[in-house]
């Protein structure tokens, strides 16, 4: 596993600053990544040259904006190897993408007796929407358990076998757990679900910018992600859905742009993806997301994955020497994706984050939108360090030294 060139750092203007008098060590990439110059420039350039509304205009700027927006859609399709750009719906982010499927597909397809299966490691954004729609439709929500620390908190695959009955209409799971650092075998999980006739939705929020993803190879029906976690801007994300499914689903939001005809008391919808994009879309951020796809593919996603995994492994090794540390997920030395979350008896996550901030280190502490899982693991909160293309082994050394100092303070 090899690391990326440290020169990548210079592509990201925000990294070139000091915090608390120390060079910024940004390790909060699980929450949101920094943006390369090319993405910021694409955004500014759109507003400086091509800004216009899309779809309905025939003048030069409007045609340029439409072309740019649709080129972003085609690029998004290519980024995950979707068969057709009509399978790409632009949303605000992962949360909206999941809500869209839960409400649109769920309200049309779920009945009492049906089961929606999710896992105990889901982020609230791939959990609460399923609570809501199962309650609304009378369907049942079930969880694939997360195993104990000995089993490295992986999904309990034996339990999954038993849970996957023909009543399961949809299996929604995270590709990469934002708390555990576990990368689930998405293709295998989808194959199992398909065997009982269940559809699959993958929450790719944490994986999209870090791991190669091919939706056709994985065989999922839906996939959701956010641009801001993959070097893109806030306010834009994607729902991938198989075309036949999307075309059969009722609209989610309604209004301009998604209708084919409107009469006083009746309206007809455009086909997907427009059907699911009511109102003026976030044109500028979609176009900036295009630049993010290009940036990441310029590095190469296998290389990014190697880099992130290598740093996480190094971090695990360095941190495992700290007194009283409890590291979640894969054991030190075992494969793990690009983040590590950990807890100490002696110091609470918030105190650690506040102290680390004084050393210029951006960490995240809390329940990471995994409240029920944290309760199950008996932890009120953890501290998380999450890595991206610009992080370096030197930064891990800074982190380890800072943590050591903090533990002394609270000892």
């Amino acid at each position: 596993m090899s690391l990326l060139s440290p020169a990548l750092r210079f592509d990201f203007p925000a990294l070139d600053q000091h915090v608390g008098g120390k060079p910024l060590v940004y390790l909060d990439n699980g929450a949101t990544t920094q943006k390369p110059r090319s993405v910021i420039d694409a955004l500014a350039r759109f507003y400086e040259r091509n800004n216009s509304n899309v779809h309905r205009g025939l003048h030069a700027l409007s045609m340029r904006a439409t072309d740019g927006f649709e080129a972003a859609r085609a690029r998004a399709a290519k980024f995950i190897n979707a068969a057709d750009s009509a399978e790409i719906v632009f949303t605000r982010g992962t949360t909206e993408s999941v809500n869209l499927v839960a409400q649109s597909w769920g309200s049309a397809n779920l009945r009492p007796g049906d089961i929606v299966l999710i896992t105990e490691m889901e982020h609230h954004s791939n959990l609460v929407p399923w609570q809501q729609i199962t309650r609304q439709t009378g369907a049942t929500l079930k969880y694939v358990p997360v195993a104990g620390a000995d089993a490295e908190h992986g999904l309990d695959l034996d339990a999954l076998e038993k849970l996957l009955t023909p009543q399961v209409k949809l299996f929604a799971f995270t590709h990469l757990s934002n708390t555990l650092g576990i990368l689930n075998d998405a293709a295998r999980l989808c194959a199992k679900a398909r065997a009982v006739g269940a559809l699959t939705l993958i929450d790719a929020a944490q994986s999209i910018g870090h791991e190669p993803i091919d939706v056709q190879a994985i065989g999922c029906d839906f996939l959701a992600y956010s641009g801001h976690k993959m070097a893109g801007p806030t306010g834009i994300g994607v729902l991938y859905g198989k075309r036949a499914l999307l075309d059969d689903m009722p609209p989610y939001q309604t209004g301009g742009g998604m209708i084919s005809t409107v009469d006083w008391f009746e309206s007809k919808w455009k086909p997907a993806p427009e059907r699911f994009e009511a109102g003026t879309p976030n044109v500028a951020d979609a176009i900036a997301l295009h630049a993010a796809f290009d940036y990441l593919d310029g590095i190469g996603r296998p290389a990014i994955s190697d880099h992130d995994h290598a740093l996480a492994a190094q971090a695990c090794t360095a941190l495992s020497e700290l007194p009283g540390i409890r590291i979640l997920g894969p054991k030190t030395g075992k494969p793990r994706a690009g983040l590590v979350s950990f807890a100490f008896a002696a110091a609470h996550a918030h105190d650690i984050v506040t102290f680390a901030d004084q050393d210029g280190i951006a960490l995240r502490g809390g329940h990471h939108c995994n409240q029920p899982l944290m309760k199950k693991l008996g932890l009120p909160s953890t501290t998380r360090a999450s890595f991206y293309v610009y992080n370096t082994p030197e930064e891990i050394a800074v982190l380890a030294a800072s943590l050591r100092k903090i533990l002394k303070f609270f000892a």
């Binding site: 609470h348 506040t354 004084q358 809390g366």
Partner: protein
């Protein structure tokens, strides 16, 4: 760590390590809980109100040093006081953590003045207080 020694004063570290009045209070006639959902911090305050006076008070909970130390210190400060006095103290405390300025006559609570430089932590510092005040305002439990 210059600001931090302001934030984590000796009083706070001490209360965090050796919390006072920690635990359940079997004879409580008022109980209230508060949490800080963004943090996962929580605090439950048990107290026995004797007429208008806080005869006994205990707390339980988990959270950061600021929230736990603050809850602990709070119990020592309002025990034996009247409801009105407790409310006045809370107002003084809120003033301290939001402005960083402590009136002369207030001693231990002034340790939390450093919190004002960390607005995201104000909620931690007031968590136990909010639970206590909620408990005081509740109808008596039997």
């Amino acid at each position: 760590m210059s600001d931090l020694t302001d934030l984590y004063q000796a009083v706070i570290l001490d209360h965090n390590k050796r919390p006072r009045n920690r635990g359940k209070l079997p004879v409580a006639n008022r109980v209230a809980s508060g949490d800080n959902p963004t943090c996962g911090d929580n605090c439950t305050v048990y107290l026995r109100l004797d007429g208008d006076r806080i005869a006994e008070i205990c707390f339980e909970g988990a959270g950061c040093a600021i929230s736990q130390a603050s809850a602990s210190l709070m119990t020592t400060q309002i025990k034996g006081r009247t409801v009105a006095e407790a409310e006045a103290l809370f107002n003084a405390f809120k003033e301290i953590v939001t402005t960083g300025k402590a009136p002369d006559e207030i001693s231990d609570l002034a340790a939390f003045a450093g919190v004002h430089a960390f607005p995201a932590r104000i909620k931690c510092a007031t968590l136990g207080w909010h639970a206590a005040l909620d408990a005081l305002r509740q109808p008596p439990s039997s």
